[in-house]
Symmetry: C2
Subunit: 280 residues, 2 copies
């Protein structure tokens, strides 16, 4: 596994790859869990070479968010990626990614403003910008991302399409703990009592999916079931039933309608989502 | 010369070019003049293959600007480009460049807000976005642009650097009519009396350069000379002495300080610029 500390090292490595070799890319903020590793496995299955980036991107954090405390363990991450047979790991410095005088930002209008975008102004601008930069550097054929960040995947698919980039964004299933909690680096913030309460997100999904299977088609009724399942275990940031293409609230539901939510467990903000027709 | 009417045709043509072949690109809005053709010549001199795009980009025009009346003559343009030995001409439709649901915009902060950016809100957002899209499609090694649009060149250099794109932007000299008027497709709007008055832009540059050569170093005095030279022949939109890197107003001048201006001749807005140390 080749470690690429700088843009120069990355470019040199990329230039040495023969044209036509299929390149997969998994962008991460590190502190890897099984969700990330499933993306690595998907890339390795589909592509001849796999790049992983580890970069905690400051521009996608708001001023009062957890940039400083975001969990980091580069040594452990590199060990894991080496075990998984990753070919290249890129972990640049912020001095190189956003040098003095940095000025360029990418906005995906509309879809970036709702849900997580409403709660975290500027978040998707930061995400779109860093992913565009990384894609320009790595020049992958396919990019693998987790669908826990369902809105992020849609924002980035829109960006890639609009900017005429021929990168295939592969959205992979959410990986969950045995108890149902969607894997997230931020789960490390939770103590065991908070972890128990955090099960309210996946429980709400399960309850709503069960009601849907049992024939419930009323949006207010389904949302009430979700809200009651969460109860006082968490504080709802948003909780909606949306269409999977534009993430706009729906008034009638089908299998593909998506329950999507952000819930605070004390100060820890967690997200989760699923289609009504799935079964967790 | 290969005509590429669509993104699909462009991508097929680009994919057939052997890796390692140097590709030059000249993005234009058509209605070609000798300025454009000098860019084509520069590309042909530097690169093995030359692409030219012809696309009047609606997103860089304001709602009250001249999008509808912007001069167009595709047939003549293609004849000229063929004569000059261009390899590929790309002239896409707006339906393909900005399809329904288009959402992604690139902003270069700071430098896009002054001068032409102040007079034409959103202009450089449109320019940056279309050039990024075209660069992603054409994948050139070098791109050739005229320095009449001096601010545009700086905006795009900043964008390419910030987004980690390895495209060499080559800024080429302004090409002028024998009487000094900087070539522009918009000169076709001028009748002969207006054309005479439009010489006030290059005359102002010449007068300021002469005063600078004669030892004048006072910014207010140099700007007064420019303003008096323009007189009532045109209405000044902006007229500044700026540094050539950030386009901020200077208080002390040297050879590289740049006189930069936009002047209305009746309803026709013209721009021009030059370094004090040059001689028109």
């Amino acid at each position: 596994m080749k470690l690429l500390h700088s843009i120069t090292e990355l470019r040199e490595a990329r230039a040495r790859i023969a044209p036509g070799t299929s390149v997969g890319f998994v962008p991460t903020m590190g502190y890897l869990h099984e969700g990330h590793l499933s993306l690595v496995a998907a890339s390795k299955a589909a592509c001849e070479l796999t790049f992983v980036s580890i970069y905690v991107n400051p521009s996608q954090f708001g001023p009062n968010e957890d940039l400083a405390s975001y969990p980091r363990d580069l040594e452990r991450d590199l060990e894991l990626l080496s075990t998984y047979g990753v070919d290249y790991v890129f972990f640049p410095s912020t001095e190189e990614i956003y040098p003095e005088g940095y000025k360029t930002w990418v906005e995906v209008s509309g879809i970036s403003q709702r849900l997580c975008g409403a709660s975290r102004p500027g978040h998707f601008r930061g995400v779109a910008t860093i992913v565009l930069k990384l894609v320009n550097l790595v020049q992958p054929h396919s990019m693998f991302m987790g669908s826990k960040d369902f809105q992020q995947v849609l924002v980035l698919k829109t960006m890639l399409r609009d900017l005429n980039l021929q990168v295939n964004l592969v959205s992979c299933p959410i990986i969950r703990e045995a108890d149902g909690l969607a894997m997230s680096s931020r789960n490390s913030y939770l103590d065991s009592q908070q972890h128990q309460r955090a099960l309210c997100l996946s429980s709400a999904i399960k309850a709503v999916q069960a009601a849907f299977r049992a024939g419930q088609r009323s949006v207010p009724a389904l949302l009430e079931i979700a809200g009651e399942t969460i109860g006082d275990r968490g504080r709802i940031d948003y909780l909606e039933l949306v269409d999977p293409e534009r993430l706009e609230p729906v008034t009638t539901v089908d299998d593909m309608s998506r329950l999507i939510m952000a819930v605070y467990i004390d100060k820890v903000r967690l997200i989760d989502n699923a289609a009504l027709g799935e079964q967790l």
